[in-house]
Structures are given as structure tokens and as C-alpha cells.
Assembly symmetry: C2
Homo-oligomer: 361 residues x 2
């Protein structure tokens, strides 16, 4: 059927996710496997969240509330915005795809950084867009370069903030400077999947920017800090008109019932998640120190993952780590042949990773 | 932001789902509300399925298996097909949207029946397709008319079987006759969301047709008979080449973990679901008899819903039923001003519906 498919989709390299723990156990015959490959929260959601999910399961024969009423009300209040400024997705990656589908015509241009989150590239290619991918400079967005890449045909700009896989962030000043003088008919997609991990005081307040910039769309997720990656729920924040456009192409029941209930419960668990943020912060320092003592370079991260330069082929290192039951991400796919990306796990997980990495190198 | 959105999506009337029970209670201040509006299984999934879901919840911090490995193996065996002939969706409605996105270019033509499932129309309009909607004849697909509507530009044909909202089906002979002489570069989308309810012996065996027709794509769901509408999972069956094309635009984690676990458990519960099919069958007869004794016309259905001609404006009847706590579907939106569609519920639900309908009329 390839001959009758849209041409734009046949050139797309599909996204390669981190391997599931079960799969590695099954294929390599291992008992003990840890996964530091997909930037998941290793502690999981709180007991309160799990209880809310279990309680709601008896109602699964009913379609979800397509409007996410209760979650919408609570989140709007939490963020101090209007309920009609929100749209929910089957993970925030669905919102990336929806935004591209709604705004990008064949032949339009899309500006993004490289390396960056692969779904920006995949979704844009499927839409038949021409992509201007501007290389990172010293592992940070080259905003001058990205601004220079904008032409009359540019329809959309992706700002991953913090970005994946580098783990660096854009400040209030960075973003304001970038926006200055920019046409307001370009959609600025600010992907803040790692928002909850950022401690930097000069990190941009994107929701405040929405008041003056109707062309900004901010996405966040319950998959990372909130530990609900398996349930699939993310959200987008934008002006009512932008959300209305996206709602027209949203599938009516795109967010499942348990995800809605789980996300709502997460919002009631601030203390629990603050504790997790602290643990991750402590473990980040542990990893920095361990890597330094191994004389390995890494990129300082404001997220729950770290990009590390290994003194060997990343593909080989990744394979050897895998054989010892440690799943991390080989960055060769991104053209970074000597880099791996490692999620910050629990204390024992990080210790195991460091120990195995020492053996392997 | 409407001025920069794709033109094709601004003409789309969004899908209006059946109202959630919670919403009706909240807005009308009612305690006792039954929902017979969304063709859900009123009994819910089996205790075994619910237990499997609860057991898997501890793992929600991990991304789902994007490949749906275990479910894929089990379902392939169950259907006697190869694992690479399957693709899973966030409900089968996601697969409708994916198929249109993958194959339909702007200006292509899509043939469907009217009235039919609204998502066919919405997805095709968003893609910028020209739609040929062929009216039902006596509440059945007019396959001759649909075949006559096919032109050189036709890229896709939707066959809902059984169809919604009519509840009628296509036989083996109907479909074979339709396919005869048809170009093989037209995607034939056979939506079998209500497959498990069909008792007719001459119902088409679509999986057998796949062996000779690489351009057929069949979808089914765990939302209807299996009672997992809230979890969102459906699947498509086609040739490996067709599935490969669709996989390229699939979001990597489109099916949540609990949906995968729940669906797998459903496949182990054949006896439970056979019992439900029997109950629905019995209740269908009860509704037929009650409607006949009220001298109301209805369409004989092979599904868990019935299209009923009320002797008044459907919108008014629906509103009055709603005020008495019975949610059904007003068919005015489909241009059927005197029809309502009612899901077959439990025995007490159906009795309440009949009682309230008598009061209202």
C-alpha cells in the first residue's frame, strides 16, 4: 500500500523509544534490569494518586469525559488561567502532532533546534513541511541562529524548554529577546515537559507571556515529574482562539478516564512531588560527582536526565550496559556518536549505573 | 489564531458526544441518571479484567510498550493472523484519523454513507477531501450507489459494518459484490466496532477477505462489547505493508499501559462476554416488543443500540428524557428530525427508558 500513501510520510524515520524493561528481560534473559532511558520518575505516582486511579476503574465501561471537566477546572485554578485556555492530550506528544496538523501546510517552514526532541521533526516531516534545524551552540539553543532561519514561509518554531536531550533551558530574557520583532502569525510552540524539575530563578514564565503573545502555545505533561507516563496525559496552554482551533481536530475521547482522575489527584499532592524533586536534585549532584571523578564530561542539566560524553562509541557502550541490565539512551541516532543520555534514577539505580559504566569503560 | 490555521479544519463541525452521566447530574441537579447514549456495555468489564488493570497500576511511571508486544501476540493468535498485521489505537477512532492522514491528500475523494459515524466525515474534511456521502436506502448501505460514486479521484471508502446509527450490517455477498471490479488502490476501511454483537450467519468474514485484498483495513474496538471505553483501545487489521504505513504516523506511545493489560485480560474472558451478548440479545427483544406495543417504528439492529422513530420532534423528546434522567441520542444532528438512538442497557435501565418514554410521548 506504500504506493498510494502520502509521499511525505514515507521519508520519515520512526521514533525509536527507550526499550521497555520487560522486553530487555525477555530478549536478553536477564532478571535484574533497570531503565534509565526514558526520563521517567523512578518513584512513581503517590499512593493517593494510585488509590484514586483504582477507585475509578469500576467506571471504565463509560467513555471518558471528552471535555476533562473536573481536571480542567482544577488545573485552570492551579495555573491561574481560564478553563478555555487549556487543551488536553494523550500525552503532550499528541499536542505536538495536533499543532502541526492544525497549522502547518505542505511547503510551510518549521524552525527547530538540532539535536532536539525527535517528534518535532517527525510531525513536521509528515505534514510535508520544510525543516530548518539549527544546531545547538555549546549545548544551548542558538536563538540568534534560529531567528535568522525564520523566513516569510515560517509557520512554526519549536522551543523545547528545557530541551531534550541537552537538558539546558531558556531564560526569561532569552525568550523575550527572541520574540522581539517576530511576526505574530508564527506559532511558537514551547514544550515544557520538564518544567517541574527546573530550579533556575531566571527560567521563563511562559504563562505570563501568553497574555501578550496569542501565538504562543505551552505544553506540559504528567508523564515526567508526576510519574504517569504509562497513562498518557499532557496539556497545552494557549489563548482561547488557539485552543479552539486545536479542539477542532482533537479526537473526542483522546484522554482516557483514569488519566483524568490520576492527573487531578496529582495536583493535590504538592508535598509528595516536592520531595521527589529534592531527591532528583540530590542524585543529580551524586551523578555529577561520580562522572567527574571518572573524568567524563557531561552537560549540566536542569532536568531529570544528563547528557554524558563517553570515551568510546556510544552505541557500543549502550549495548554493553544493556547486557548488564542497564538501559540508557545511545545518542548516535541524533548524530552524537560519543554521547549517552541517562535518566536520574533512584539512589541504588544511579549507583548501579555508575558501577556498571566504570566496568564497561 | 484562526487566520493562520489550515482552512480545511475551520469548516468542521466538531463531534458532539453523548453527555456524561456526571455532567447531567451536575447541570440538572439530578440524583438518578442513566446513560443510553454512547453504545457502552452497561455491565462493564469482568472482575478478572478489573483486577488485571489494578495490578498493573503500580507501573504507571513507565512509558507503555509502544509495540503492545503481549497484547499483539495474544490477539494475533486469537484472530489467526500474523502479529505484523495488527496496529493498535487510542480507541479505533484514532485509527480512522490515522488512515485518513496517511492516505488522503487534499482534493482526493472519500466515499461514505449518510447518516453514518460522524468521525469518517470529520477526519476526511480535516484532510481537505471531497466527500461523496451516499444516503442509506431503507436504513441499509446503498452499495450500488456507493460504487457509482467512485471516481478516478477516490482514495478511500468507509464501510461501517454494522453501521452506526442504523445498526444494520453488510453480508459476505454484499461486500464481495461491492469489491468486484473495484480498483485495488482504493483503501476500503471496514469499521467493525460492533463486530462482537453480530449474530447473523451471513455477516462478512472480513479477515478472510484480507488474504486477497491488500487494500482492506478492518478496525475493531475494546470500547463496546468489552466494556473498556474509558481506557481507549481499538485495533486495526490489515496487510503488513498497510500496517507499516500507518505505523509511521502513529505516536510512539499512543496506547496506554492499562489499556494494553485490560485488553489482554478481556481475551481470556470469552465466557463472561458471551453471557453479556446473550443479555443484550434478550433485552433487544424486550425493547422491540415494548416499542411495538407503543406503536413506534424502529430499525432492526444487530448491535447494542436501536434507532427509533418517535412521533414528535426528536430534539424535544431527547430534552424531556434528559430532564427525567435518561440520556439518549437525538438524531436531529444527522438530519433525522424524528429519530432517537438508544443503547440497550441493563434490564432495569431499559424498563426505566420505556416507562419514561411513554410518559414523555
Amino acid at each position: 500500500m506504500k504506493h498510494i500513501a502520502k509521499k511525505s510520510i514515507l521519508n520519515v524515520k520512526p521514533y525509536v523509544p527507550g526499550k521497555p524493561i520487560e522486553e530487555v528481560k525477555r530478549k536478553l534473559g536477564l532478571q535484574d534490569v533497570i531503565k534509565l532511558a526514558s526520563n521517567e520518575n523512578p518513584y512513581g505516582p503517590s499512593p493517593h494518586v494510585l488509590a484514586a486511579i483504582s477507585k475509578a476503574a469500576h467506571n471504565l465501561n463509560r467513555y471518558p469525559d471528552g471535555d476533562c471537566y473536573y481536571l480542567r477546572q482544577a488545573l485552570a485554578q492551579h495555573l491561574d488561567i481560564e478553563p478555555n485556555q487549556l487543551i488536553f492530550g494523550n500525552g503532550s506528544d499528541e499536542l505536538i502532532v495536533m499543532a502541526v496538523r492544525a497549522f502547518v501546510n505542505e511547503g510551510d517552514e518549521v524552525v527547530m533546534a538540532t539535536p532536539s526532541f525527535l517528534v518535532y521533526d517527525i510531525a513536521s516531516k509528515i505534514a510535508g513541511a520544510n525543516i530548518h534545524a539549527v544546531p545547538l551552540k555549546n549545548f544551548r539553543y542558538d536563538l540568534e541562529g534560529m531567528k535568522a532561519a525564520i523566513t516569510d514561509k515560517t509557520k512554526m518554531v519549536f522551543l523545547g524548554n528545557p530541551d531534550n536531550p541537552a537538558g539546558t533551558y531558556l531564560s526569561e530574557e532569552d525568550v523575550r529577546h527572541f520574540l522581539k520583532g517576530l511576526r505574530n502569525d508564527i506559532l511558537i510552540f514551547m514544550d515544557e515537559a520538564y518544567f517541574e524539575y527546573v530550579e533556575a530563578e531566571d527560567y521563563v514564565n511562559s504563562i505570563r507571556l501568553l497574555r501578550t503573545h496569542k501565538n504562543i502555545f505551552v505544553t506540559r505533561t504528567f508523564s515526567k515529574m508526576y510519574g504517569l507516563a504509562g497513562l498518557r496525559i499532557g496539556y497545552g496552554i494557549g489563548g482561547p482562539s488557539l485552543c479552539d482551533v486545536l479542539n477542532r481536530i482533537r479526537e473526542p475521547f483522546n484522554v482516557n478516564s483514569l488519566a483524568q482522575v490520576g492527573a487531578l489527584a496529582c495536583l493535590e499532592e504538592r508535598a509528595y512531588y516536592r520531595t521527589i524533586a529534592k531527591k532528583i536534585s540530590t542524585q543529580r549532584r551524586y551523578l555529577y560527582e561520580s562522572l567527574s571523578s571518572m573524568e567524563l564530561e557531561y552537560v549540566e542539566s536542569c532536568t531529570n536526565f544528563i547528557l554524558i560524553k563517553v570515551k568510546a562509541k556510544a552505541s557500543k557502550v549502550a549495548q554493553k550496559l544493556l547486557e548488564k541490565g542497564v538501559i540508557i539512551r545511545d545518542m548516535s541516532f541524533w548524530g552524537m556518536d560519543h554521547y549517552i543520555r541517562v535518566t536520574i534514577g533512584t539512589e541504588p539505580e544511579n549507583q548501579k549505573f555508575i558501577q556498571v559504566l566504570e566496568e564497561v569503560l
